[in-house]
Symmetry: C2
Subunit: 335 residues, 2 copies
């Protein structure tokens, strides 16, 4: 297996990307790792000799976090993001992982790697932390903000297959993000999606309200990219605000600092559970080849987790399964 890596993307790049890759290279000596990066920037972090299964591939351009995605991938054809997506397209890599500009990665995935035949819109599918510690795959969180009902039908299918093959859920419970729990609730849009998903051969459990996401009420949550993005960012924002505010209370004086020190192991355990980075990256489901978005604030550990997940994504041949399932359903319809 050959994994291409964006050495340039993410808040702690290139250092965290390099460290994570080297760690993964030691863990999986049978896997080839290709680091795509600007030589002058990456080299200083490659102390000593490279493991035989790691290779640096020089690129000359870098897409910044705040660049306009489509313009960036058109102008910077020799950036790590465009090169990585092309490697997957051309079979030079089995999977590409990047913690860089999310919009640019989605655009390159769509325009360079390309859609899987039969899929109308790819979806970005991160794993949300849940109190059950099993996590929940949520799709789409913004690859396609103006979704149509048939897109969400395909998300349900792709998400279920991925959750089963890569995340280890048995008959994943698929839920629809909605503003009421009972069937028949919501908008014209969600009502149509509900009907469509009901007709699929999935373990569809119906509507799930936003208040129950962290409880892990389902394993795969389907939503349009606009709502999904609101959900993702709000969850991150509320958790961050609460932890920041708690810190203020805990460091108020010497006594509270002492008390907080006693509670620290428990708080840390909880913070780890709530950490996106523990769960690996977010696949861009619906492309012809595996492209995975790692969290922007990925450290070496997050990179390592993303590799573990990406390996399963490839090994389990999820994309072939999605393609087969689409053909099978298509066949059923025409019978």
């Amino acid at each position: 297996m050959r994994i291409a890596f964006d050495a340039m993307g993410g808040d702690f790049a290139p250092e965290a990307m390099v460290d994570g890759t080297l760690r993964a290279a030691r863990e999986w000596p049978d896997t080839q790792f290709v680091l795509l990066g600007v030589e002058d920037e990456v080299k200083p972090h490659l102390a000593g000799e490279l493991p035989t299964n790691v290779q640096l591939m020089a690129v000359t351009q870098h897409i910044e976090t705040d660049e306009e995605p489509v313009k960036a991938i058109r102008r910077k054809k020799d950036s790590s993001i465009v090169r990585g997506c092309r490697m997957v397209k051309e079979g030079e890599a089995d999977v590409f992982i990047s913690a860089g500009n999310t919009g640019a990665l989605m655009a390159a995935g769509l325009l360079v790697t390309g859609r899987l035949p039969g899929i109308e819109r790819p979806a970005l599918a991160p794993i949300f932390p849940t109190l059950t510690q099993k996590g929940m795959l949520v799709l789409d969180v913004g690859a396609n903000p103006e979704a149509r009902p048939e897109h969400l039908e395909q998300y349900a299918l792709m998400g279920s297959l991925y959750a089963e093959a890569v995340l280890g859920f048995e008959r994943p419970r698929v839920g629809l993000l909605n503003i009421g729990a009972e069937g028949g609730k919501g908008t014209t849009f969600t009502k149509e999606v509900y009907q469509r998903i009901s007709a699929l051969p999935l373990n569809f459990i119906g509507n799930v309200e936003a208040r129950n996401v962290l409880n892990g009420d389902c394993d795969v949550l389907v939503c349009d990219g606009f709502s999904g993005n609101i959900l993702l960012k709000n969850t991150e924002g509320v958790a961050k605000a609460i932890f920041d505010r708690l810190k203020k209370e805990f460091t108020r004086n010497a006594i509270t600092k002492l008390a907080a020190a006693i509670l620290k192991p428990g708080l840390k355990r909880f913070a780890t559970e709530m950490d996106y980075k523990e769960h690996g990256g977010a696949p861009l489901l619906g492309l012809q080849g595996p492209v995975v978005k790692a969290h922007g604030s990925s450290d070496a550990r997050a990179v390592f987790n993303a590799v573990r997940q990406a390996r399963l994504y490839v090994e389990q041949q999820v994309i072939t399964r999605i393609s087969d399932e689409l053909n099978r359903l298509e066949g059923d319809e025409h019978r």
Copy 2:
């Protein structure tokens, strides 16, 4: 001033409703309070003689939390919710407050109290807690899940006027909930809303991302009812999940319990800040008369806060101001 009260709605009704009303009646002896409730259920909580400014008005029906809103208000015309909305419509009360079935209250507001001329869709506008402790008015959170851009334009106008008159914000900063910070981000829908609000005589600060809501990045946040509902329920759900989980860590053993006891005042202070109930109720903006939704889990204190806010809503003549502003803008357009 005459305030009508739904004694039957909310998790702690009728007791909390009665207690809150009696407390408010003592605080504001110049205000008349009308408790709408089923006599047999409310009477036991009215110990001793009623203050001269509190009156029990008997109704014979009650709309439960899980009833289908429109059916319920059609079938139960002698329920507290329908009677209260009618009192406002007919000038028998200056404002109606209910902690009952939200959907039924919205339906009764729309169908019984009626829309303000010129307003296409009323909006439910709760106050979100913020780390700045000033709160943020968010509208709409579900009165109108299938909003059109012109509806959000009216929300911006109504929300700004309400936030200035009732919540004390000077030139309230109006933001648009969106999935990117820069102008031009988002969907066709949000782009059109952005243009429309930009053209209004408001302090519009542009897009606000869901991750920044608790930071209080704006004073009035405008969104469609579907996204707003997701935002509201997710915020509640994430906060609840985190506090529940912290409780588990804090009560793990005798030592952590002791440490938690030391931190308790700070945690309590924070929990109070984050408590919706501290901020009063959510007006249904865009109706001909003031109707206020109090939180379903309202206790006597929340009821009291809702009264304080409702009094300002009436005194500041917010509805007249909204109506005048609509006419003025209409006039400008036709000039």
